[in-house]
């Protein structure tokens, strides 16, 4: 069963560490580590910040997820993958989508940022918190923070497009090693 709901009980903000111990809940988090982002298969949904909470009810588990971008087409795949992992564990579950608090790239764990880099995607370099109006002003001055190349580490890189193969990524090119690469944008 998949339920769409925009309002939820208070969900955590920030990165979520993998719970340890042998409680049912910790065991479930560990089991769900195998469910990865369909576009970035090196990150689990927890590491990406999409899986926010697991709660148990009298009828089974509730998995609370939050979308990254509003139109991200991977969301339905994520729901299906979570349900299929729960099914193979023999646990009845429903997946609930919550919009608030809004997902932020700040919720990607540090380990996950390192995995992204190794995978060839430059992780978001800065906090996503910023003032919209000043962004417009900055656009005029073409001021952009430098994004280090995930291949050679050089900061001598340039943006080729603000939008890339998926909504969450921009396209960059390294001027030192000449490799093109994806940059996971702050959101």
């Amino acid at each position: 069963m998949v339920t769409d709901q925009t309002i939820s009980p208070p969900l955590p903000t920030g990165p979520i560490a993998l719970p340890t111990g042998d409680s049912d809940e910790a065991a479930l988090w560990q089991w769900l580590e195998s469910v990865c982002d369909p576009e970035i298969p090196v990150l689990s949904l927890r590491e990406l910040g999409v899986l926010r909470a697991v709660t148990s009810t009298s009828t089974g588990w509730q998995l609370w997820i939050t979308p990254t971008y509003n139109g991200c087409p991977a969301l339905s795949q994520m729901k299906a993958d979570l349900l299929s992992a729960m099914q193979s564990a023999g646990k009845p579950a429903e997946v609930i989508t919550s919009l608030a608090p809004a997902w932020s790239s700040d919720w990607i764990t540090d380990e996950a940022k390192e995995k992204l880099r190794t995978y060839g995607i430059a992780p978001p370099h800065a906090s996503a918190q910023s003032n919209g109006i000043s962004l417009v002003r900055l656009a005029g001055k073409m001021q952009r923070a430098q994004v280090p190349c995930p291949q050679c580490g050089s900061s001598d890189t340039t943006e080729t497009s603000q939008f890339g193969s998926t909504a969450c990524k921009a396209m960059y090119k390294c001027l030192a090693c000449a490799e093109p690469f994806d940059y996971f944008k702050p959101y």
Partner: protein
């Protein structure tokens, strides 16, 4: 229907109609990167529209769904700004099928995304939790749209003589349509009471980028369009026909 549902429908229609219009560039972008950028914009906008339509359907409670709202309404039942339904060409183009002008696309995206930056900014602290949740997510996306459009507008204005002239022509053509942003129709008056303040903020943002681009911002004057009241241009029917024909010819089609 409640005022809030009316306003949410207007926001959803804005997002869907511009999303559909910009998607026309898919496979036809001036360069590959811009093709991808505009498809990404549309994905964001249609994602926002879906959330809003789902919520409107819930508020109405009359059996509407996101699909009936998007595919089974006629032009007069849409309440988007007229600006967003216009084809990608200026007034002197001979027909809506004339060659698309990327300057029109960029100027429209710039005017609208800078406006939505302010609107989502107000709505993200709205007392209705669903509206504030949608606003808090959408503002993150519209920042990228606005930055993209501002960058290109500066590049066009500050580029060659032709890119400058085409950018100026697009600004001159589209500016009068922005008057509709500030029109006082019932739902907007209630949800966004202080349009005078928004208007000042919007002008400050826009003029900064226009100056940086070396362009002139004309006075917004003349006929005030009324898309928010369901009164549209001829272009709206063609846009909807393309978007809705499959769903109407094959009701319930799935793929």
């Amino acid at each position: 229907m409640t005022t809030l549902a009316d306003y949410a429908l207007h926001l959803a229609d804005n997002a869907l109609i511009l999303g559909q219009r910009n998607a026309e560039w898919c496979g036809h972008g001036p360069v590959l990167e811009e093709d991808l950028a505009l498809a990404n914009h549309s994905l964001d906008l249609i994602g926002q529209a879906r959330l809003l339509y789902q919520w409107v359907a819930q508020l109405r409670g009359d059996g509407s769904t996101e699909d009936t709202l998007a595919y089974f309404r006629d032009p007069e039942a849409f309440f988007n700004f007229t600006l967003l339904e216009l084809p990608h060409c200026t007034a002197l183009a001979p027909s809506a099928r004339a060659e698309r002008d990327y300057a029109v696309t960029i100027v429209r995206n710039f005017f609208f995304s800078s406006y939505m930056l302010l609107v989502w900014g107000v709505l993200q602290s709205h007392a209705q939790p669903q509206l504030s949740a949608i606003a808090a997510k959408s503002i993150k996306e519209v920042r990228y749209h606005c930055q993209h459009a501002a960058d290109w507008l500066i590049r066009f204005g500050d580029g060659t003589a032709e890119s400058h002239d085409r950018a100026q022509a697009a600004v001159d053509f589209l500016m009068p349509y922005t008057q509709e942003f500030w029109s006082e129709w019932p739902a907007a008056k209630e949800v966004l009471p202080d349009t005078a303040h928004l208007k000042n903020q919007w002008f400050d943002m826009v003029i900064d980028v226009i100056k940086e681009a070396g362009l002139q911002l004309p006075e917004a004057s003349g006929y005030v369009t009324q898309g928010v009241l369901g009164i549209h241009t001829e272009h709206m029917s063609y846009l909807l026909a393309e978007m809705q024909s499959l769903a109407r010819q094959h009701p319930g089609a799935q793929w």
